[in-house]
């Protein structure tokens, strides 16, 4: 019983990457442990908490619910690959994070929301982020940060 492997090629944060990976390895473990992009975190391994959120071919996905082999040929962006500076800055200013474990997922999801909807209500923001668990904040500072960025971009 030796673990099956496949060779995959993809881009991660713009860099071309080719690796031999165990077929059973999921994308977030591959990013974290094989490539050292530890910004995405693992919180439940069943797609419920959102800590492992990464962007796959332009859309947020759960990194624990994608196999690394399924990302073969794709473009992956993690928090290390960048997220809008104004959003990051506002999270800092309003302290929209405490322990920081959910933060990469929150940032990537928020950035996606603002691309799709530049004018979200607080309710829209809460709805869009409702798959990202934060245990430390009361979510309010996060909602404030996203809302404030949207306002600032409009003016």
């Amino acid at each position: 019983m030796s673990t099956k492997h496949r060779r995959i090629s993809l881009t991660v944060n713009g860099e071309a990457v080719a690796r031999e990976v165990p077929v059973r390895l999921n994308l977030v473990d591959f990013l974290r442990h094989d490539l050292g992009f530890t910004g995405s975190h693992v919180g439940c391994e069943q797609g419920a908490c959102g800590a492992c959120t990464v962007v796959l071919d332009g859309q947020t996905v759960r990194g624990c619910l994608v196999l690394a082999v399924q990302a073969d040929g794709c473009a992956v962006v993690t928090i290390e690959g960048g997220v809008d500076d104004d959003l990051r800055e506002m999270f800092y200013t309003l302290n929209a994070l405490q322990c920081g474990f959910c933060t990469p997922g929150m940032l990537l999801s928020s950035a996606e929301l603002l691309r799709a909807n530049p004018n979200p209500s607080r309710e829209d923001i809460r709805e869009y982020l409702s798959g990202n668990f934060c245990r430390c904040t009361g979510y309010q500072a996060i909602v404030d940060a996203v809302f404030t960025v949207a306002e600032a971009r409009r003016s």
Binding site: K4, Q46, G47, L67, S109, E112
Partner: protein, 293 residues
């Protein structure tokens, strides 16, 4: 909200697992290749598309297929098309693409209402209609919708294609009419008659959660169909209630009483059958109140 299959909902203790067991993987270039592979490995293979239901099961080691056949890149299964009578949705259309489809919005607004309740954006990006239906979680939204819309599913294998009515497809908790060598490829839904009103209602604890109960109602001028989710081992049509309301659309109290007798929810320590039965009655009353008088 079909992204947690019931597997992980039950605690499986002993060896404590979060990493998938070992398996092999292939990504055939065509449907023909996929079917050939599947026919070869039928009993030991699993089809993966978006993986939003299968991967939690694998992570928790509730299934141990020897081979994953990834059909996720077969673009021919990603189309939504129409003719005069039907809308046909490829099995690999994602929840998110379904929600973005103007054709679906125009012809099948029930699906758009239902998709709002499915999980969260990152899951909707990967999860597919075919994957959700083939997983057959009794609390999933789209199965009940297909029942209410009187849809049929295209099922193919090396032995050929067959169509199975939605009403015959769901066999139990995670059980369907699919044989081990078969793949669900498309969903064909009749276009509702002009004037048809469709209503989707569900009750979940939090946004994106599995519904404790849900209801899909399609009221055509002379025919009213109601399918329920989360209240049996599969999505179910409530035929007696449908007949009553088709014949007498104003018999609301009678219908609400009847629907409560027509469902037999599974035993569940958190949401007892009496509660789910009650919810079905609440949902029916709410849905009927949304119909124009």
């Amino acid at each position: 909200m079909p992204y947690f299959p019931a597997g992980p909902r039950r605690s499986r203790i002993g060896a404590d697992d979060v990493k998938a067991p070992d398996f092999d993987y292939c990504r055939p270039e065509s449907m023909a290749d996929a079917l050939a592979l599947l026919s070869l490995h039928a009993d030991d293979a699993a089809i993966i598309a978006g993986g939003q239901s299968l991967l939690p099961i694998l992570n928790f080691r509730l299934a141990a297929p020897e081979l994953l056949i990834d059909i996720g890149r077969l673009d021919e299964l990603k189309q939504v098309t129409e003719d005069d009578e039907f809308v046909e949705i490829g099995a690999l259309v994602s929840h998110c693409d379904l929600a973005d489809s103007p054709l679906v919005g125009r012809e099948l607004p029930l699906l758009h209402q239902a998709i709002d309740h499915i999980a969260h954006p990152a899951v909707r990006h990967r999860g597919t209609i075919g994957g959700s239906l083939a997983m057959a979680d009794p609390a999933a939204e789209l199965g009940a919708c297909c029942l209410a819309l009187d849809g049929a599913f295209s099922i193919v294998s090396v032995r050929g294609q067959r169509w199975v009515a939605a009403a015959d497809f769901f066999k139990g908790v995670y059980e369907t009419a699919l044989q081990p060598d078969e793949i669900l490829t498309a969903i064909r839904l009749p276009k509702p008659a002009p004037g048809t009103i469709s209503i989707f209602e569900e009750v979940a604890r939090r946004r994106g959660d599995f519904a404790m109960a849900g209801l899909a109602l399609v009221a055509a001028p002379n025919n009213l169909r109601i399918a329920l989710l989360g209240v049996a081992d599969r999505p179910v049509l409530v035929e007696q209630t449908m007949t009553l309301l088709t014949n007498n659309p104003t018999a609301v109290d009678e219908a609400v009483a009847l629907i409560g007798t027509e469902v037999d929810p599974l035993d569940d320590p958190t949401y007892p059958p009496a509660y789910r039965r009650h919810l079905v009655q609440v949902l029916l009353r709410r849905a009927l109140s949304r119909l124009p008088q």
